[in-house]
């Protein structure tokens, strides 16, 4: 038996012994909640075991997570979108197909209904067209839906992006450098950062002389930005570790952790 297999068996055995002790001592309730905590603790430890080495328990937990999330999302979409929003409209479409003349007369009697029903029914039809990707012959219908998605996406995104990322950012980027209080350092720093980074990413001319000097300042701004992002990333990853360890210590091992 090699060392890794021995470590694997020892850890699994230790986990089983700890859980047995927790259940026998009554610290973990012998009900659905207790089993849920045990499962969550087991999956957490299985995922962290990757830090030592890739192993079957990690693979199991990884695939379990993907499966559970997929099923949970499907359930949420079914109960909160398909059932209340899509299926009643699908039933209306089915009714219209079965009795086109009756429905047509009813709509002619109240033309406003055409717009209302159109708003409700057209998205469902476009959604059904997307499903034709799964078929062979009528796959061309899905292109109508994709054309709608691309057109809508471009129409929504382009003006909003320009507004939020360019126009609204211009004002705070170009602030007065001299105010009544004197020289404003922060606006100068922002202006210098924006200009130098823009020059660094201008590849149409050679980065020598004054242009090279300014682009080197741009590199420094980028380095500071990467450093800040890395610092925040470390903070985020540690926070996740803290949260999961807190769960393991408080909920699984039922320890009382100090607040201060």
């Amino acid at each position: 038996m090699n060392r890794d297999r021995l470590v694997f068996l020892v850890v699994v055995g230790l986990f089983a012994a700890v859980n047995l002790g927790l259940f026998l001592s009554g610290r973990l309730p012998a009900n659905a909640e207790g089993v849920g905590i045990l499962l969550a603790a087991g999956v957490s430890l299985a995922l962290y075991s990757f830090l030592y080495k890739d192993n079957p328990l990690f693979k199991l937990a990884e695939h379990l997570y993907v499966g559970v999330v997929a099923a949970y999302e499907l359930g949420q979409v079914w109960f909160q979108n398909m059932l209340p929003d899509v299926l009643p409209r699908g039933a209306a479409i089915y009714e219209a197909v079965r009795h086109p003349i009756d429905v047509g007369w009813a709509l002619l009697g109240d033309p406003r209904q055409i717009v209302t029903i159109g708003i409700q029914v057209v998205p469902v039809i476009l959604g059904l067209f997307l499903m034709t990707r799964l078929t062979g012959r009528s796959v061309w219908l899905s292109r109508i839906s994709f054309a709608f998605i691309v057109g809508l996406g471009a129409g929504l995104v382009i003006p909003r992006r320009i507004s939020a990322y360019v126009l609204d950012q211009l004002g705070p980027t170009i602030q007065p450098l001299w105010t009544e209080a004197g020289f404003a350092f922060s606006p100068f720093l922002i202006l210098l950062g924006v200009v130098s980074v823009l020059i660094y990413f201008s590849f149409s001319f050679e980065h020598t002389g004054a242009v090279g000097a300014v682009s080197r300042v741009g590199i420094w701004f980028l380095m500071v930005s990467f450093g800040a992002s890395f610092g925040y990333t470390v903070m985020a990853r540690l926070s996740l570790l803290i949260g999961q360890l807190t769960f393991l210590l408080e909920k699984w091992l039922t320890l009382n952790l100090p607040l201060w």
């Binding site: 999302e73 909160q80 209340p84 929504l156 705070p172």
Partner: protein, 274 residues
């Protein structure tokens, strides 16, 4: 020296693990001071008037993978809202956010004796991402005709006077990615001009600082530290403040490793290593 630069990474994992575990078990006090970005959200919510029927919309756009970072800030802001007896409307743009949002809302509501329907409601999830935000901005009932429990919005005290996002006194998006803060800025705040605050994972926080500068965001809660600052402001320290001990010690250990790595690297170069 070559041995130092080729150290097994598992020793680093072990050191970080111990640096987080020990401060969790051993209590000591570290001061937590609120930054201006966190204080801005606190001040805005504190200025709201319950008697005027001010309503706060909270969008829980995160799943279980970032729960440990974002749940404390959601709880802290909710505690502030319920303490001030403000009405709260919850919503999520992610299907996996439904269970999380429901649990957080009901747990914090129970602490303050807040009643569902009277003091807070949860709209649930609808597909559409940014389009859903636009839809809510135009007509709330077009996006959600009922709450998550199937009750029509006109039958609920909280939502009866609300017609669109413009009727919200404050909107806070707590997000872990897409759809999230950027979508709420572009399709919500930009278009309907409501006051928007954001809470996000620490990884995302640097990306949103330009929006603070431009006033598109009112304030920002960045990661567990942001949550700890908010807990301090409301005077109710909880998981986030407690997490600052291991966070601080962990940071010191990582800084020491960075310094150690650099010293080892330059020493190995001086010694003729590659």
């Amino acid at each position: 020296m070559a041995n130092l630069t080729n150290i097994d990474r598992r020793w680093i994992f072990l050191a970080v693990f111990i640096s987080v575990l020990v401060p969790l078990l051993v209590g000591f006090h570290l001061p937590v001071k609120a930054s201006p970005n966190v204080r801005a959200i606190y001040t805005s919510i504190d200025a709201l008037d319950a008697k005027a029927g001010d309503t706060v919309l909270m969008s829980f756009d995160f799943g279980p993978s970032t729960l440990t970072e974002l749940q404390p800030m959601a709880k802290a802001v909710l505690r502030h809202c319920f303490r001030k007896k403000l009405k709260v409307v919850g919503v999520t743009l992610l299907p996996e956010g439904v269970g999380i949002a429901e649990t957080i809302l009901s747990d914090v509501a129970a602490e303050f004796g807040a009643t569902y329907g009277e003091d807070y409601i949860f709209l649930g999830y609808k597909a559409g991402n940014e389009v859903l935000i636009l839809n809510m901005g135009e007509e709330l009932r077009a996006a959600f005709s009922t709450d998550v429990r199937g009750t029509p919005l006109d039958d609920l005290t909280v939502t009866r006077p609300l017609r669109s996002l413009g009727d919200m006194a404050y909107v806070l998006d707590i997000s872990a990615g897409y759809p999230g803060v950027e979508e709420w800025i572009q399709y919500g705040q930009e278009r309907y001009r409501f006051k928007l605050g954001a809470g996000c994972t620490a990884v995302m926080a640097p990306d949103f600082f330009p929006f603070l500068q431009s006033g598109q965001l009112d304030g920002l809660l960045g990661g567990l530290a942001g949550a700890a600052e908010y807990e301090t402001l409301i005077g109710q320290p909880d998981a986030a403040v407690s997490g600052m001990r291991p966070q601080s010690v962990g940071h010191v250990v990582i800084i020491l490793f960075i310094l150690f790595g650099n010293v080892a690297y330059f020493a190995s170069r001086r010694g003729g290593g590659s």
